[in-house]
């Protein structure tokens, strides 16, 4: 299986703060890689580098064969179409219907600005409905997005990402705002979708238990450095928890 994401000695600085420090890793196609770490450890920054929402200060990022350091705006948008993104706060437009929110996932493949459901081609709307079926929200299609519960909103956001027909799905703390039951549903959904479509998933999480149950691989970050990188199978809970410890006791093991 070939690698779809490759980081080579990537560092990212915001002023004096080092958000990523010499990060090197590669993710093969179809893998679910979970990023663990404290707030501010660089998980979100790392994910945003995969999508080109942020660019590395030094080092190189290559995603689906595109070198992000040199990619033009057009190339970058073309790449973003192939990479879905799911956020902790869902990032839906509350005043729009659920279906229209899903449809915005198709914008990368459409020309020109869109406002209003009827401005999207019928085939887009049909496909959007299919994805809503997939996440179990057909009946809510024409409700306002802000009338849904957190777990439902996150499933809408996943449907929106699916409409891009992504090859990679990035999920930044997708369950951090959800109750445990909704969190389990969303993680199961991500796992199933990954299996159905051979979709590569990079997902940051807070909870070690979720990481061990749903991930193929666990990558631990502390202060922008990779301090753990192992297959989830066989990884002990205590070993994973050590990522959160204040003392840098875990050697950077390479899987």
């Amino acid at each position: 299986m070939h690698d779809v994401v490759t980081f080579h000695r990537v560092s990212k600085r915001f002023g004096a703060t080092v958000a990523l420090d010499e990060v090197s890793l590669s993710v093969p196609e179809g893998q679910i890689a979970v990023l663990l770490g404290l707030s501010g450890s660089g998980k979100s920054t790392l994910l945003r580098h995969v999508d080109g929402l942020q660019r590395a200060s030094t080092g190189s990022v290559s995603v689906l064969g595109t070198d992000l350091a040199t990619a033009s705006g057009t190339r970058l948008r073309a790449l973003r179409r192939r990479v879905g993104f799911v956020f902790q706060q869902f990032h839906l437009v509350g005043g729009l219907t659920v279906l229209e929110n899903v449809c915005t996932g198709a914008l990368g493949g459409l020309r020109g600005p869109r406002l209003g459901l009827f401005t999207y081609p019928k085939r887009v709307r049909q496909e959007a409905l299919r994805h809503l079926d997939r996440v179990g929200l057909t009946e809510q299609a024409f409700q306002r997005a802000d009338t849904l519960s957190g777990g439902q909103q996150q499933r809408v956001a996943i449907a929106r990402a699916l409409l891009q027909r992504p090859e990679i799905l990035l999920a930044d703390e997708p369950v951090a705002s959800l109750d445990p039951e909704s969190a389990g549903q969303v993680m199961r959904l991500l796992r199933e979708i990954s299996a159905e479509r051979n979709l590569t998933v990079l997902c940051s999480l807070h909870q070690v238990d979720l990481a061990l149950s749903w991930g193929d691989r666990v990558i631990g970050l502390r202060s922008g450095r990779v301090v753990l990188d192992r297959q989830a199978a066989g990884l002990g809970r205590d070993e994973a928890m050590a990522v959160y410890s204040a003392v840098a006791s875990v050697p950077a093991a390479v899987a």
Binding site: V93, G95, L96, Q143
Partner: protein, 537 residues
């Protein structure tokens, strides 16, 4: 060991900026009192005007309404001009706001440019623009549409930019992460979030423009204002007041209608209907039907207005050709040998604004307080005072000014009283709104200690709203300075008289001088306001 409890300070040490801000507020207050006294606004003046009122009422009644067809034509023309002007301001403000908002602007230069254009649009009074455009495009509608449309960008563009800056960046990031282009990002990530604010601001501006259109009639823009001006010029008070009454009714109706639409926007309905399998369009629920009908009606109104305002593209292009020559008439600024008179008149304008703000605040604070839902002794009292505020807001300041000119004679007392009463409409509303916006949990906490209604009001409600009050009063002063300038046009004192006079005798250089003086004055007030807001926060 710390000092004994008894020796500790129980009041905070005064802070430097706090003292300075208090001093400025007290200075403005003192200036207001002095200005009112200096203008001769006292009980005797008011008693005198009661006598005049009876006299005036005699000359005003019976009201003489024009024939229905003529009346409808006048209303139609005014509404068409106001709708077209508001539409123009919206069309100009959307791109201006996108360029001016920190989060959507392409670069610093574009941002500064757009901000400057918005400030400039606000700084040039619509009456001055109307005087220029009438010179260019002739009497009629075009000048009014352009004057109000451009001037409105100063407010609409500013509020639109603020709305864009306040959006949740999340949806926008999500849309960008999906590979959307810049325009798509704006349309799908930004616009849906700001649309209610955009519509609400446009409606608000429509209300304002409707009132302003009366004033523009006095310099030659078609419609009700023009008819009112003609009637007053012929001392036909029966006709003039009848038309003013029509304007009042239109303004109150517009205020009520736009208020209802704006409230509707904040809680749009949602469809909980189960969609039919495979259906890709929202079902036709009652709410969707209603929204569609509203949309169609709006489109029809706009089309009818564009047609009714008789905007001729050819006339516009012709006018543009002579724009350069016309603007040349306004430059360089000239004093016409009456600079001392101009300065004296400007000083009177300042006094009118100060006195009117003080009197307005004295009236508006209790009225606004009683109109606030959470303070009013009973819901009925609250509703009654809200109604009073809406009614006053509906009266164009110019109509008030004309009434007071008749009651108290030509001069600054009329202008002051007109602005003071008018201030109740704006300031009263702002006071009521900021009282209603306080955190009621704090009120409940104080109430839970067994405090009386007055104690809750004094120690929980007022402290939360007080910083806003100061800002509102300064805003009212700013508004009053602009308005005080213009009321001179109908003889209510101050520099407006010279503005009108100079444009009538074609001394356009003097118009420019007056404009520059007013502009400088407004800037000084703006700077004081900005500084006070920074100190207060």
């Amino acid at each position: 060991m710390s000092r004994a409890v008894a020796e500790r300070r129980t009041l905070p040490a005064p802070s430097g900026p706090g003292v300075a801000a208090t001093a400025v507020v007290l200075a403005i207050l003192g200036a207001g009192v002095w200005a009112a006294a200096d203008l001769g606004i006292n009980v005797a003046t008011l008693v005198d005007s009661v006598g005049n009122a009876a006299d005036f009422a005699q000359r005003m009644f019976p009201l003489d309404f024009p024939p229905v067809a003529e009346l409808l034509r006048l209303c139609g023309t005014t509404l068409a001009i106001v709708v077209s002007a508001t539409l123009l301001s919206v069309l100009l403000s959307v791109p201006a706001a996108v360029l001016a908002a920190g989060n959507t602007t392409p670069n610093r230069v574009a941002r500064l440019g757009a901000r400057a254009a918005i400030v400039l649009a606000r700084a040039v009074p619509d009456v001055v623009l109307a005087i220029v455009f009438i010179r260019v495009f002739g009497l009629g509608s075009m000048a009014g549409v352009l004057a109000m449309g451009l001037h409105s960008v100063g407010m609409v563009g500013k509020l639109y930019a603020d709305a864009v800056e306040q959006i949740d960046e999340g949806p926008r990031t999500a849309v960008r992460a999906g590979g959307a282009g810049r325009l798509q990002e704006l349309a799908s990530g930004v616009l849906p979030q700001v649309l209610p604010a955009f519509v609400s601001t446009a409606l608000h501006r429509f209300d304002i423009n409707l009132r302003v259109s009366v004033l523009l009639g006095f310099v030659g823009v078609d419609g009700l204002g023009f008819a009112i001006a003609s009637a007053f010029r012929e001392l036909d008070y029966q006709r003039g007041m009848a038309l003013a009454f029509v304007v009042l009714v239109l303004c109150v109706l517009a205020e009520l209608l736009s208020g209802a639409i704006r409230r509707g926007l904040t809680r749009p309905p949602t469809s909980r209907v189960r969609p039919a399998p495979g259906r890709v369009s929202p079902p036709w629920t009652a709410s969707r039907l209603r929204r569609t009908v509203y949309g169609l009606v709006t489109a029809l109104v706009v089309l009818a207005s564009l047609w009714g305002a008789e905007l001729s593209p050819a006339g516009f292009v012709d006018g543009l050709g002579t724009l350069g020559t016309t603007l040349g008439l306004f430059w360089p600024p000239e004093t016409g040998g009456i600079l001392p008179d101009l300065l004296a008149a400007l000083w009177v304008t300042v006094k009118i604004a100060l006195a009117a703000t003080l009197l307005g605040a004295v009236l508006a604070l209790p009225i606004g307080t009683l109109a606030a839902r959470n303070v009013a002794p009973s819901p009925r009292v609250g509703a009654a005072f809200r109604g009073l505020i809406v009614l006053i807001r509906g009266i164009p300041e110019l109509v008030l000014a004309v009434v007071f000119v008749v009651l108290t004679g030509l001069g600054e007392v009329a202008g002051t009283l007109a602005l003071a009463v008018g201030a109740v409409g704006l300031l009263g509303k702002l006071v009521a709104d900021s009282l209603e916006e306080v955190d009621e949990r704090v009120e409940n906490a104080v109430r839970a200690t067994g405090a009386t209604r007055w104690q809750v009001f004094a120690s929980a409600t007022v402290p939360q709203a007080a910083p806003a009050f100061v800002g509102h009063v300064l805003y009212q002063l700013d508004v009053n300075i602009r308005s005080a300038t213009l009321l001179g046009i109908v003889g209510a004192g101050g520099i407006g008289f010279y503005l009108q006079n100079a444009s009538r005798v074609l001394e356009f250089g003097v118009v420019t001088t007056v404009l520059l003086l007013v502009f400088a004055l407004a800037m000084v007030v703006e700077l004081i306001a900005v500084w006070l807001r920074r100190v207060a926060s």
